[in-house]
């Protein structure tokens, strides 16, 4: 209880530096967050420096013998075509990150815009947009992505489109709710009284105030998107061979589960660690930015 009082006092007179310091202290105080950050840093490094980190060419068949067990040369063994699993795992981080980041940006851009319009203009626009979002939410995310990918055809860019579309309603709902409460503030009324255009109010005055929860939502969505991408590529939708995606690698390895379990285990573990990391960091961000969001996001 005492914490809450302190937080709200700080929020009223915000000396910038201490706000940042408070954020950092709360954010970094949990071991889960540190663990998540370390994994994410490793992930980004792996994606950027793949060509230098990967011991072999991930696409070239026959860098080792077919289905070799883990050894000093091939730390995680090789797949059916003799490709090095570790190298493919490292290159797979590029696919995961690319799909995750682009879909988050595209989905949140559309979703947040729709949500602000729905929340700010009220009545008819609100009813139309939000009912359409409700309808989209009736389709489970992976199902919606599957159908969109089916209509557009395979390929990584279509998976990105499919996943972006599938996440739009989530952002729209949250943003609409935030906008509804933010627009009741006096400073919005003051802005309207001095004749600021609706567009300016929506995007320069409401959006920045809705940002903390949206950042948390986007962080958590990154994890969900990587999980969904893995699911789609496990089903064989998305990146085309010889490209490397973790979900597809789990599926490829599944056939040799009894002899080469590491082929499935390693990429699956990578997916889980990354999703876990994004969840941890998202949780940490939520508690550091605004503890009141606990239970809502």
């Amino acid at each position: 209880m005492a914490d809450n009082v302190m937080v709200s006092e700080l929020a009223e007179v915000p000396p910038r530096i201490s706000e940042w310091r408070r954020f950092r202290r709360v954010f970094l105080s949990r071991s889960g967050v540190i663990f998540g950050l370390i994994i994410l840093i490793l992930l980004v490094l792996a994606a950027i420096f793949s060509p230098w980190l990967a011991p072999y060419n991930p696409y070239k068949p026959g860098t080792g013998s077919s289905l070799a067990q883990p050894s000093a040369e091939h730390l995680l063994g090789t797949d059916l075509l003799g490709r090095d699993t570790l190298s493919r795992l490292i290159y797979g981080s590029r696919t995961a990150l690319m799909v995750g980041f682009i879909s988050v940006l595209a989905g949140s851009f559309v979703g947040i815009t729709l949500g602000i319009i729905a929340g700010y203009s009220g009545n008819i626009a609100n009813a139309i947009i939000m009912r359409a979002m409700d309808a989209m939410l009736c389709f489970p995310m992976i199902l919606l992505a599957l159908v969109v990918a089916a209509v557009l055809g395979g390929g990584i860019q279509n998976v990105i489109i499919a996943l972006s579309v599938a996440t739009i309603p989530g952002y729209a709902r949250v943003t609409c709710g935030l906008t509804l409460s933010i627009k009741e503030n006096d400073y919005i009324l003051a802005g309207r009284a001095i004749g600021i255009s609706n567009l300016r109010i929506m995007f320069l005055h409401i959006l920045p105030n809705a940002f903390p929860p949206l950042i948390v939502l986007m962080t958590m969505q990154l994890g969900n998107l990587i999980l969904a991408e893995a699911g789609l590529s496990f089903l064989g939708i998305g990146i085309q061979p010889p490209g490397a995606a973790w979900g597809a690698m789990v599926n490829d390895g599944y056939r040799y589960l009894s002899t080469n379990p590491v082929l499935s285990f390693a990429p699956g573990l990578a997916i889980m660690l990354v999703v876990f990391a994004f969840n941890m960091v998202g949780d940490g961000l939520r508690d550091a930015l605004d503890p009141r969001l606990r239970g809502l996001l």
């Binding site: 009736c138 199902l143 990918a149 496990f234 064989g236 939708i237 789990v250 699956g268």
Partner: protein, 319 residues
Amino acid sequence: MTAYIIRRLIQSLIVLIIVTLMVFFVMRLLPGDPLIIYMAQSADLEAMPPEMLEQLRHQFGLDKPIMIQYANWVVNIFQGDFGTSIYYREKVGKLMLERFPVTLHIGLTSLVLGGVIGILAGMLAAIRRGKMLDRIITPLTYIGITIPVFWLGILLIYMFGLKLNWLPISGYTSPMKDFWLSTRQIIMPVLCLSAFGVAANARQMRSAMLEVTRQDYIRTAWAKGLSERLIIIRHALKNSLIPVITLMGIGVGTVFGGSVLVETVFAIPGVGRLLVSSIFGQDYVVVQAITFVIAVIVLFVNLLVDLSYGWFDPRIRYG
């Protein structure tokens, strides 16, 4: 309450109409001739003479205005006619009647299991906050919400199927035919599908319970000298359950989404696997029908959840 019910019913009806529009028109976004929805591969279409294409278009009503086509489609599905599968050469309604019970058997079991175990685990973690039990349950819930279901399935198959040889690794048998075998076969799929539900429910339950036990009326109950068991069961449980009920509504969607993956891993002839194979086989009538039925089920369950929510919590219904 009546006004609230009517408002929610009208809202759901509008959403249902939008769902039909989406399912119908998304299929029309397919590149090429809309005949592809009803006919085999696009290569077959290109080989046909134009007169025949015209005749087929007339047969499927594709020469009519698009809104008439939409209306016909809606009238047909509400009469139970979902069209004919290209691949199976069977009525899609009949196909779904064969496949849906399989998915529902596994899905409902997972949903119930996820609810019961999740609520219990969350409750225990909250009551014993910071103690041993909480320190075991809380990290496990993080694993539950982040583990890829298909990978969990593969781990289970490796462990209990290949190494220990305890459980069959694939297939499905109707419980009417062989109850024992059926149960053994669905243990691993159910574990996969319920993992997320158990974890999500436990987390929600834990935080709701911690919130509720801080309320004044719980302190009053303690002050009256009631036993812990009575306070938890009589007073704290009901109010903590409210947020968990909403989660159950979301759970239905998660289970259907997950069944697409789990049925693929365990080779279960359910509706999820039918959907995936139909997508790859470009059997669009089947894809259309399955997505529609799943969306309607999700919509309906969420309507029920919202109504019960209003009943549980008067603040919602008058809000």
